[in-house]
Symmetry: C2
Subunit: 262 residues, 2 copies
């Protein structure tokens, strides 16, 4: 079994569970993590546990990195075979609001590189898959980034995230904020990043993102012709210390990087 | 026929048309208005025209104010009976992106006050209705704003809108930006404002909003127990010159107003 098939299978099996929990979300158990608006639900925990159990059974020697609990540390050997999951990216949106903007994100990495990835937005039904070198797809349709070349005609998604990240955004990202045509903040990295792959958005900027937030969607964008980097232009590697990222349609990458203060 | 029934009827009749156009949106005619990312579609024009025709037939003496074309001027007598429509609020989202965050908004005003309003989000199906003094409802369910009292546990929607508004936001709204727990920017005023009424979001801030963007949803929030004002705290009147607005769950209104620079 190829890793992409394992990812596809797991995502497929779990869509219905998430849909059910979302429909009856008033009954979902919620707790706070680092601060009042950093939330965790039983759904995050269940999805991650199911995934961990399945990987341990099928690939017992592989490392597992996940957003929740003990799995949030990086593997000792960053080049080992590793599975990276964000069980629900956009937990706050899952819990509150009319817009079901959240996704399950799973990537497989080897030799430090994400080589297969899948993201599903369970309520709206977009199912993204990509393998390194083989293109990226949404519900079976091949994806291609936009060709928008002018920043004032572009839409950029920024995550304003928590208060520390927001301070950094004001220090470093203000010129982007001031110059893009349209600005959005949806509160889910994977939903925003995948929109670059579909050609619906030109870029995504975050001051401090963990690998489970971008491991799959970065690959999905790159395989659709887009580009990713750290904020100084260096390659976006999975297991760097947590820091900022820029992902774009490629055409606008250099111009946006030049706007970001060091 | 009460005005609220007229609003309900018109919205109901037009949901399917918008759904169809959205499903086949690649075929929709789009043009630019003031700048590259200020867009207009045939759907905005058709909905507005249908509404104008219907009002002229049923209420020939009433004024009509709408976002598009000749209807975007205010009535000579601001206290006259007036219908206020935004045919598609969130046109950019209609055209681009995975998230169908846009709505049709209609309000009826008399003696300068919005007394009936309806908003429908055609793709996700939320149908909001409110009459002054009679409460507000979504799909028949009575609405009530949240009771979140702490700004760091609140979610606030800000519209960063166009470049001039964004400059103003940096001058006046930065303290809100720096202090709220969660920040979102969805790019549709009515979708964001209605989320206050459902208790899913605590506030909405915009530096420069036209009456068709808030006439219905302001009423929907107020009838759910929320509060609205201009940025200096004065009442939010429909036909003021275009300027900033703050709409909240009420509890947080005073604290947020104090954060906004004059």
């Amino acid at each position: 079994m190829r890793e992409i098939d394992f990812i596809r299978g797991f995502l497929k099996e779990n869509i219905e569970y998430v849909q059910k929990k979302y429909t009856d979300k008033a009954a979902v158990t919620v707790s706070a993590k680092a601060h009042a608006s950093d939330l965790l639900t039983e759904v995050d925990l269940t999805i991650q546990k199911r995934f961990v159990d399945k990987v341990k059974k099928r690939f017992p020697d592989d490392a597992i990195v996940g957003e929740e609990g003990e799995f949030s540390r990086f593997p000792n050997d960053p080049k080992a075979r590793a599975w990276i999951i964000d069980p629900i990216d956009g937990t706050y949106n899952f819990i509150r609001g009319l817009h079901p903007i959240f996704g399950i994100s799973i990537a497989f990495a080897h030799k430090g590189e994400n080589v297969a990835g899948g993201v599903v937005l369970p309520i709206t039904g977009e199912f993204f898959l990509a393998e390194r070198g083989a293109g990226s797809f949404c519900n079976g349709k091949r994806l291609r980034v936009s060709n928008v070349k002018q920043l004032n005609a572009a839409r950029i998604d920024i995550d304003f995230s928590d208060l520390n990240d927001r301070k950094l955004m004001l220090q470093r990202g203000l010129d982007v904020f001031r110059n893009v045509g349209q600005l959005r903040c949806y509160g889910s990295a994977v939903a925003s990043i995948c929109q670059i792959a579909t050609g619906d958005t030109e870029g995504y900027l975050h001051m401090n993102l963990a690998p489970w937030d971008f491991a799959a969607s970065q690959l999905i964008v790159e395989e659709a012709g887009g580009r990713s980097s750290r904020l100084n232009g260096s390659p976006l590697r999975l297991f760097d210390a947590k820091q900022g990222i820029l992902i774009t349609n490629g055409v606008l990458h250099r111009e946006m990087l030049a706007m970001i203060k060091s």
